[in-house]
């Protein structure tokens, strides 16, 4: 009996957490899937109507806008954050005196809540109050920067604010990764005559694969959950041009009394995560296992 306990202790230890996850994550997902097949309006109802809400969902113009925006936003957000993260971390790694100070400046945005971020950026990006007015006041009378109020460009303003908030964290991840690389490897490469640039590209960055993985996981989860920032910055506007799936779902569920429709959109979001994240993570984990 004691042997059995000892042998299965690890599993037993994980069991409570797993049970919790099973209920609060997967149980709730199942509930959402079920509700997405009902006629629920303002409060949940349990009448089964098949795929009616899903069909409805794919005939909604707002949903298409939201999905398109999610794609644009996610790709830009992840790519730019990682680019900035890499550049800043490499620069900071150059043994500068002000490293600690600069690092704090780049990192602090993540500490702020969306009300601050949204309101401040809303003002900064507003043509009549912010950057555009500033440049005009300074004498550049023809300067325009009206992305915020332009329905084709509004989604990019969300990218600007989101990158601002999260790129510092990516920088921190890469900086940590850079610091943990053995100096010997770099020295050896330098002796072989490799230039700084090629050292970075061919040796250092590939070694940062795990950091890429963590960054992408974290950035992706922020992207999918984007609600607060969108609401605070553009409220989905102008019109509905900067709509995002999480915003759409929340509005449908809580302000349009269309819980069934909202659940259908949530199911779509889950499926997307499943389709992209799971294969990626699984292959990374297998690779790590193989390397051990």
């Amino acid at each position: 009996m004691f042997y059995w306990l000892q042998k299965n202790l690890p599993k037993l230890v994980i069991a409570p957490s797993f049970a919790v996850i099973l209920w609060f994550v997967y149980g709730f997902i199942l509930w959402t899937v079920y509700i997405s097949m009902t006629n629920s309006k303002m409060l949940p109802r349990y009448d089964f109507v098949g795929f009616k809400q899903h069909i409805r969902l794919w005939s909604q113009m707002r949903w298409y806008t939201a999905v398109e925006n999610l794609l644009i936003f996610t790709i830009l957000f992840i790519v730019i954050c990682i680019l900035i993260g890499i550049i800043l971390s490499i620069f900071l790694d150059q043994k500068i005196r002000a490293e600690g100070f600069l690092r704090t400046i780049y990192l602090y945005p993540m500490a702020l809540s969306f009300i601050v971020t949204g309101t401040a950026w809303k003002w900064i990006l507003n043509p009549t109050m912010g950057i555009e007015k500033l440049f005009i006041d300074w004498g550049f009378t023809n300067f325009t920067f009206d992305w915020l109020v332009n329905r084709d460009m509004s989604i990019y303003t969300i990218v600007i604010a989101a990158v601002w908030q999260s790129s510092g964290f990516v920088m921190a991840l890469f900086l940590a990764g850079l610091r943990s690389i053995d100096d010997e490897i770099i020295k050896a490469a330098k002796i072989d005559g490799a230039g700084l640039y090629s050292i970075y590209i061919t040796i250092i960055l590939p070694m940062m694969r795990p950091v890429f993985m963590s960054s992408i996981v974290i950035l992706l989860h922020i992207s999918i959950k984007s609600y607060d920032l969108v609401i605070a910055l553009t409220a989905g506007g102008p019109g509905t041009s900067s709509d995002m799936p999480a915003v759409y779902m929340t509005q449908m569920a809580f302000h349009r009394s269309e819980i069934g429709l909202a659940s259908a959109s949530a199911v779509m979001m889950f499926l997307t995560v499943l389709a992209i994240v799971v294969p990626y993570l699984y292959s990374e984990l297998r690779r790590q296992d193989a390397g051990r």
């Binding site: 000892q6 202790l9 690890p10 599993k11 230890v13 994980i14 797993f18 996850i21 994550v25 997967y26 149980g27 709730f28 997902i29 959402t32 800043l88 150059q94 500068i96 600069l102 690092r103 704090t104 400046i105 990192l107 602090y108 945005p109 993540m110 500490a111 702020l112 809540s113 969306f114 009300i115 601050v116 971020t117 309101t119 401040a120 003002w123 900064i124 500033l134 601002w164 921190a172 991840l173 900086l175 940590a176 990764g177 943990s180 795990p210 950091v211 993985m213 963590s214 996981v217 999918i224 929340t250 569920a253 809580f254 994240v277 799971v278 993570l281 990374e284 984990l285 790590q288 051990r292």
Partner: protein, 300 residues
């Protein structure tokens, strides 16, 4: 000949050091530009909170206040004094503390245990298990709001700090498990094997061997959890009383009005005050944060 050589060498050195200086300046320029990008909103926030409403209405965003007034800060923290029934931040600050501390502690502890079990005691399907945990990071909270409400109602804690602690702990588990698992996996198995040979059991190894060297990952996890939970608004407003609400709900109540006059200076002061704990955490612990990351907590 030697003089010419050494002069050539000097010239080369000089041009090399000029190049270095040039690159150095370029570096600082770029870092500085990014610095402005990151600091701009903070600047706007603080400057606005120190202006009077008149100035805000007339002036432009970036101008410094004519006269520095801390009145908005006082109003934001302790209200107006007159019986306007306003919301102000002081009482809600402690509610947030009461919620954050247990949630962070519990989720961190179990995350550590899980990470440990998943990496040092391999069993069949442990990767799949980890994947299942990871998936929990991606759940949009609005999607699970209603079933959570039902569950909390069933448990009788739908309107309390305890309910909030439960919610935040549960959804923190996915992240904390990830952080610890990725950290422990890079710790050499030899340490554990040696301890086992010495006769140490599961828990002994955990407390005596692993925890003492887990400081970096604990710092990372605590910072991440603290920030996320402190900044949460959705769960706080859905699952707590008026007076027991956490600070973001109070901030929201101060800043957002539907049909009444907005006082942007008080709003910005309030937003800053509400953000001080997390800002402090990042500023003070930033150093440890990097150290924690360096030690491989998120490298994977």
């Amino acid at each position: 000949m030697q003089v010419a050589d050494s002069m050539q060498l000097e010239a080369l050195e000089r041009s090399a050091s000029r190049k270095r200086t040039f690159y150095r300046w370029l570096l600082f320029l770029i870092l500085g530009l990014f610095g402005i990008y990151y600091l701009a909103p903070l600047y706007v926030m603080i400057v606005t909170s120190l202006k009077s409403m008149e100035e805000i209405r007339q002036g432009n965003l970036m101008t410094l206040p004519r006269e520095i007034m801390f009145d908005s800060w006082k109003t934001a923290w302790s209200g107006r004094g007159y019986a306007a029934g306003d919301v102000f931040l002081r009482p809600f600050f402690w509610n947030s503390i009461k919620m954050v501390v247990p949630a962070v502690a519990i989720s961190t502890f179990f995350g550590a245990l899980n990470g440990y079990a998943l990496t040092k005691w391999r069993f069949k399907g442990d990767n799949i298990l980890f994947l299942l945990f990871l998936f929990g990071c991606f759940i949009p909270y609005q999607a699970i709001l209603l079933p959570m409400a039902r569950t909390l109602g069933f448990l009788g804690i739908s309107n309390s700090i305890s309910g909030l602690v439960l919610v935040h702990t549960v959804y923190g588990l996915s992240f904390t498990t990830m952080f610890f698992r990725n950290y422990y996996i890079s710790i050499p198995d030899e340490m554990i094997k040696a301890a086992r040979i010495d006769g140490a059991g599961f828990f002994k190894i955990f407390f005596k061997v692993l925890l003492p060297i887990s400081a970096p990952v604990i710092v990372v996890t605590v910072i991440w959890q603290f920030t996320g939970i402190w900044n949460d608004f959705l769960f706080g407003s859905s699952f707590s009383f008026g007076e027991a609400a956490p600070i973001q709900v109070a901030l929201n109540n101060m800043v957002l009005t539907s049909t009444s006059v907005k006082e942007y200076n008080v709003d910005m002061a309030a937003a800053f005050i509400a953000g001080i704990p997390t800002l402090l955490v990042y500023v003070l612990a930033g150093k440890y944060f990097i150290r924690g990351l360096t030690a491989g907590s998120v490298k994977g």
